[in-house]
């Protein structure tokens, strides 16, 4: 199969075959990072711009390492160093970047739909590295890869995603991604954090964490943001961790081999108890490792790596 997408914008626009191709490619890419010389010449001469309007350490570093391991030239632009602070619009900044002929623009932006807007106007491939509360496809793909690696396959699994679903692009992308690949997703959290109409994504919803984690294969906890208290979403971290946090006591209700995931950064003691993050079945750090492999696969596929290889 050839990969023909110019852009990676969300999980909705990827087919099952495309997702499978990305995961298979990522599995092969993973080996490169285990070599002593972690670099292949595949994307030599390609330029990857990491355009981060929102602070990020993990995702930006992950894309940066992915680009470098494939020998692409990568550079980072953050909101504070871009012309945005001088009043330039997103489109103008992006058109200026385009004029320097990059091959891929990886964008993170606090506004949902910003990558879609650029994809419709610019020639380079756009990879969405997180847009507002909308989508985070590379995160969902690395989560799919990590679960598949641990469980053999995704189809038929039950995945609980717990926390602030409303504000989470990871929850949205994983609801769509895991459902598309044949798993069943259960979302849980306080009612204030469950958005209207989310069931339309094919997921089920509960407000009871213990019910959510019973009989699931994977528990994915979401980061709780302290500033959400101002919006009356929850009363205190103390109460949140007691009722909705993942503790050893709650884990007793789950399967013995349940996998624990978290997109990071984690708040130990809030959504996840101190000792649960280091649980034997916690695969939180595997997610980070696989993040590099998935992003290598995405850069390779959108730049036509597969086509070039075929041509050779």
């Amino acid at each position: 199969m050839r990969f023909s997408k110019k852009d990676i914008l969300d999980m909705e626009s990827l087919s099952v075959d495309e997702i499978t191709l990305i995961l298979d490619t990522a599995d092969r890419m993973k080996e490169i990072s285990q070599r002593s010389i972690k670099k292949v010449p595949t994307l030599r001469g390609k330029t990857v711009v990491l355009f981060f309007y929102e602070p990020s350490t993990r995702t930006r570093t992950s894309f940066d390492i992915a680009a470098k391991r494939l020998s692409a030239d990568s550079l980072s632009i953050s909101a504070s160093s871009s012309s945005m602070v001088k009043g330039e619009t997103l489109i103008d900044t992006a058109r200026n970047l385009e004029a320097m002929n990059p091959d891929v623009i990886v964008i993170r932006h606090s506004s949902a739909g910003a990558p879609h807007m650029l994809a419709g106007m610019l020639k380079p491939s756009i990879i969405n590295a997180g847009d507002g509360m909308h989508a985070h496809p590379s995160q969902s793909l690395l989560d799919l890869m990590t679960v598949r690696e641990n469980k053999g396959e995704i189809s038929g699994l039950r995945i609980a995603v717990i926390g602030d679903i409303s504000h989470s692009r990871v929850a949205r992308s994983n609801s769509i991604g895991f459902t598309k690949m044949g798993a069943h997703v259960v979302l849980a959290g306080p009612r204030t954090m469950i958005p209207k109409g989310i069931e339309a994504l094919g997921v089920s919803v509960t407000f009871d964490v213990e019910e959510a984690i019973r009989d699931v294969d994977v528990i994915m906890m979401l980061r709780i943001q302290k500033e959400r208290q101002q919006n009356f979403l929850f009363p205190s971290e103390r109460e949140y961790s007691t009722v909705y946090g993942l503790t050893k006591a709650k884990l007793k209700k789950a399967r013995d081999d349940v996998l624990i995931m978290h997109p990071g950064p984690i708040n130990r003691g809030v959504e996840i108890a101190y000792d649960v993050a280091d649980w034997p079945y916690s695969i939180i750090l595997d997610q980070v490792t696989n993040g590099v492999a998935v992003r290598m696969a995405l850069l390779y596929l959108v730049t036509g790596g597969a086509r070039n290889a075929d041509a050779d």
Binding site: I91, R172, A200
Partner: protein, 426 residues
């Protein structure tokens, strides 16, 4: 100069309906007679052939943003008036959220002076309820009325303080200035970019619940009941608001209401792909809401169709969705969209004329109707005209419409203000 509008179906709700000729002299209607009966004695009269057309009292859009003074790159009084004429309107009310806000005699007079210079359609300035539309003190309604204000509204900046709203209703009554209310609970709507619901959830956009509107509609109905002074609810978008207004009317509370063509035509599905030309306040709602709006128009709950014409340039619209300005232009598509309601059997042509001419005139206290001796403010509509909307041809300075490229059936083909043809389709 003599003119004879010949052979059209003349509809003036409660007054006329039939094939008639209208004779106009010196800007006034001088004769209205059954076909062939009028004007025979004036062979020199210029003939306007209206056969197979609808001839109505001039249409009135009581909710328009002209952006002048302050944002003349979006619209000026001159271009807004041209757009109104092009859309079949002989009169428009312009909202006070300009810069400076129309909260004093000077701004009202400036608008009227510019409108006189534009010399196209009638412009009725709506002044602010509160100084600067800031919600902390009444404007001087006496002076504003004298300067030419037709109504008061803090459109765009809802009156949060219920005491201020009560006093505005009571005080305005002394000057016969209708109060037009923009109903929005700012806390419930805070941060919202579109209608709350499945589409917003999928797009990851913060939602605005229906209740953000209906809570304030219910408050204003309560204040209307308390004071006995009527209130006009602007741009109704939700089924809950329609129900509240319907109940209030049944109980005899003097509330009136308007909606805009986009609320009876589109739903929040139009926001998909982050289309900023589908972003406005209140936001496009669900299919259920759209149906309730249509029913409300049909059963008389909603008195008026007004456009909420809100011009914006690409500077405000070609940006990230949540940062884009609210509002779309509507003057040049309103009649065609309203005619779809007639085409679909939601309302009759007579009711359309009521919603777009008779009722706004009644609410605003304007003389209206095709009567002998009245100024000849007349709109001629061709209900069969097929065309495709091309925003590039709009008279408005702005292009922010979700209807560009739509195939329409029916449009205004002639607009006449005081006997002067201000727009005629070639």
């Amino acid at each position: 100069m003599l003119m004879r509008i010949k052979g059209g179906r003349v509809i003036d709700p409660g007054n006329l309906d039939g094939i008639m000729d209208i004779l106009i002299a010196n800007g006034k209607i001088v004769e209205i007679k059954k076909e062939g009966m009028a004007g025979d004695e004036y062979p020199e009269a210029r003939i306007i052939d209206a056969s197979d057309k609808i001839v109505t009292p001039g249409l009135i859009d009581m909710h328009v943003h002209l952006r002048d003074p302050g944002h003349e790159y979006k619209e000026t009084i001159e271009t807004g008036c041209l757009a109104a004429a092009f859309g079949g309107f002989t009169a428009i009310c312009c909202m006070p959220n300009t810069n400076p806000v129309n909260d004093c005699r000077q701004v009202t007079e400036y608008i009227l002076q510019k409108a006189r210079a534009a010399d196209t359609v009638r412009v009725y300035p709506v002044a602010a309820i509160s100084k600067g539309s800031k919600g902390d003190g009444l404007c001087e309604y006496g002076e504003l009325k004298e300067a030419g204000a037709i109504a008061v509204s803090d459109d765009g900046n809802p009156v949060k303080n219920s005491q201020l709203m009560r006093r505005a209703l009571e005080y305005s009554k002394g000057f016969d200035l209708p109060v037009i209310s923009h109903c929005e609970d700012l806390d419930l709507a805070a941060g919202g970019a579109m209608n709350e619901g499945g589409v917003a959830t999928r797009l990851g956009l913060p939602g605005i619940p229906n209740a953000a509107e209906s809570i304030m509609v219910l408050r204003d109905i309560a204040l209307c009941e308390l004071t006995g002074v009527s209130v006009h609810i602007a741009h109704v978008s939700t089924r809950e608001s329609v129900r509240a207004i319907k109940d209030a009317k049944k109980r005899g509370i003097p509330v009136t209401a308007e909606t805009a063509p986009h609320y009876f035509t589109l739903t929040d599905e139009s926001v998909k792909k982050y289309n900023t030309n589908a972003k406005m306040y209140p936001p496009l709602r669900s299919g259920q809401d759209r149906e309730a709006i249509c029913r409300g128009i049909a059963d008389g709950t909603i008195d008026v169709i007004a456009t909420d014409h809100a011009p914006h340039s690409p500077i405000e619209k070609q940006v990230e969705f949540d940062r884009a300005a609210n509002g779309i232009i509507g003057l040049e598509t309103s009649v065609s969209l309203a005619l779809k309601l007639v085409e679909n059997g939601v309302i009759s042509m007579t009711v359309l004329v009521e919603k777009m001419s008779t009722n706004p005139a009644r609410i605003l206290g304007l003389e209206n109707g095709l009567l002998i001796g009245r100024p000849a403010d007349i709109t001629i509509i061709d209900p069969e005209r097929l065309y495709r909307v091309n925003a590039d041809n709009f008279r408005s300075l702005s292009r922010n419409t979700p209807f560009n490229g739509w195939d329409m059936k029916g449009k205004a083909i002639l607009t006449m203000v005081e006997g002067k043809i201000v727009y005629q389709d070639e």
